[in-house]
């Protein structure tokens, strides 16, 4: 049973085919990178997997379960988590609460406990706070836990976005262009963080990224998309030499 099995995926908006006939699979604990020029449909794939879009055709199986018609919040509880390319933090909430909220959505208590502040309430609130702190420690953000999320410098907001994605103890982590706008030194740092995540949290990662340095260093396998379709798939080294990939990125003239 694969962690993720995508078959014949199709999604169009109006007349535009964002994704057509896409198939690929991801084994558990693998890290797969999805690359491709802008507009290739990569983020759409993520939106489909997390249930934000309904697919027009095809299927998505997560550890053997069909994700069709399952609400996004339920998919989150099943272990699918993601980051957003443009960051969608809960800006006016504290850094800590950004992490506590998803935790409590999973291991929470009911209305009665909330209103009458029962032992369950106390226990689960404290547990959530503790786990949030541990997670923030991992990303070296714990000294800023009471800051408002939008007051963090950009690089740390990025880390918070990742931390939040990990708060739900996901089995499948979808990371959308984590390296966007970063300089080479920051990219190296990011590679290190991703490797640490792979070691500490046993999970499967699918990564969308433009920066070749990042993708090639971190992925076990790479899937290449263009115009909504898969044009190549394989080990990073093979992909680097693939004609179609070079053509898609750089144009025909550069294929030598």
């Amino acid at each position: 049973m694969r962690a993720l099995q995508v078959t014949g995926l199709r999604k169009s908006f109006g007349g535009i085919n964002a994704v057509s006939n896409l198939s690929f699979s991801v084994d558990e604990f693998e890290t797969v990178g999805i690359i491709g020029p802008n507009g290739a449909g990569k983020t759409t794939v993520f939106n489909l997997i997390t249930g934000l879009y309904q697919l027009d055709a095809g299927s998505i199986f997560y550890f053997g379960q069909d994700t069709k018609h399952i609400a996004p919040f339920r998919l989150a509880h099943l272990g699918i988590s993601r980051t957003f390319q443009n960051l969608r933090l809960f800006n006016n909430l504290t850094v800590s609460n950004n992490i506590v909220a998803p935790i409590l959505s999973h291991e929470g208590y009911g209305l009665w406990s909330a209103i009458f502040q029962t032992r369950d309430y106390v226990r689960l609130e404290k547990a959530a706070e503790k786990r949030a702190k541990t997670l923030l420690d991992f990303f070296q953000l714990s000294d800023k836990e009471m800051y408002s999320a939008n007051n963090l410098p950009y690089g740390e907001q990025r880390k918070l976005e990742l931390a939040r994605a990990l708060s739900l103890k996901p089995r499948l982590l979808l990371v959308d262009e984590p390296g966007a706008g970063m300089n080479p030194r920051e990219i190296k740092d990011l590679v290190r963080i991703i490797r640490q995540i792979k070691e500490s949290f046993r999970l499967t990662i699918v990564l969308i990224e433009h920066q070749m340095g990042l993708v090639m260093n971190v992925s076990d396998r790479v899937v290449v998309m263009d115009f909504g379709q898969k044009i190549a798939e394989g080990h990073p080294d093979e992909i680097k030499k693939n004609r179609k990939v070079i053509e898609a990125y750089l144009g025909e003239e550069f294929v030598c």
Binding site: F13, G14, N47, L52, Y53
Partner: protein
């Protein structure tokens, strides 16, 4: 139109309609102006009013949260109503709206048509025709449609977005003023609160037919008018306003994009 361009429910639209009726009243009674002048001046006045409201109240809040804009619109609406209702102005009472021509009916065997209904029908039809030409056959119309699709993109394409928004408001409010005059002829008792229900109903008509589509608004308006008449006739006239809400709810739940509208994905 205004909603299509700004994504703002202009709560004051009904009150501008009312303002048009009162302006016409004032022109006819205090200044004794001939009909064609009344039409022209009233529409100009409501157009200017719309322009001012947009510039003063809505524009400064364009980047504010949507809700602030809605509340401001509510504020403008209330202000117009209560300002005109001051005892030194028009008072909250009903005022008789003059009809500067004889009313007579044409009798056909199955139904009667009064000249007023005929006037309303033809004026409305003609105006809508002109509007259709404007929106679909002119450069300005194209710009309006572009802005309603994607404001940022339109401005990057060289469209003067602020100007187009003002233009849309002017056209929209001029039409509202025209509507006010026609309404005054049809139901010759005007009152400062008369615009509230027509304002809401006009929005519901637009939603029913498909926001941003002219033919949608027309069909929506006709459907709502007919439903009201039938409910009044067969059930009770006091339940009339309740029907509107039921229609709205049904539309919003079943096909939020309206009869002629197209679906739009979120995210």
């Amino acid at each position: 139109m205004v909603y299509g361009v700004l994504r703002l429910i202009n709560f004051a639209h009904g009150d501008i309609f009312m303002f048009g009726a009162f302006t016409a009243y004032y022109l006819m009674v205090k200044w004794q102006l001939p009909i064609y002048l009344v039409f022209m001046i009233t529409m100009a006045v409501t157009a200017v009013l719309g322009f001012l409201i947009e510039k003063i109240a809505y524009k400064p809040l364009r980047s504010a949260p949507k809700i602030s804009l809605l509340i401001t619109a509510v504020g403008v609406s209330l202000f117009l109503e209560y300002f005109l209702s001051l005892n030194s102005l028009f008072t909250p009472n009903y005022i008789a709206f003059p009809r500067p021509f004889e009313v007579f009916g044409y009798d056909y065997s199955l139904f009667t048509v009064t000249n007023i209904q005929f006037i309303i029908f033809s004026v409305t039809g003609f105006s809508l025709f002109l509007l259709y030409l404007l929106v679909y056959k002119t450069k300005y119309g194209k710009a309006m449609r572009a802005v309603s699709h994607d404001q940022e993109m339109a401005s990057l394409m060289g469209i003067h977005v602020d100007g187009i928004i003002s233009f849309t408001f002017i056209v929209g409010t001029a039409l509202a003023g025209l509507g006010g005059i026609l309404y005054g002829f049809a139901y010759p008792q005007i009152n400062v609160f008369m615009g509230i229900m027509p304002g809401i109903k006009s929005f519901i008509a637009a939603v029913l037919g498909g926001i941003g589509l002219i033919h949608g608004a027309v069909i929506g308006g006709i459907l709502i008018g007919m439903s009201e008449v039938y409910v009044s006739a067969f059930l009770s006239s006091t339940l009339r306003d309740g029907v509107i809400f039921i229609i709205l709810l049904v539309v919003l739940l079943l096909k939020p994009s309206g009869i002629f509208g197209k679906k739009r994905e979120k995210v």
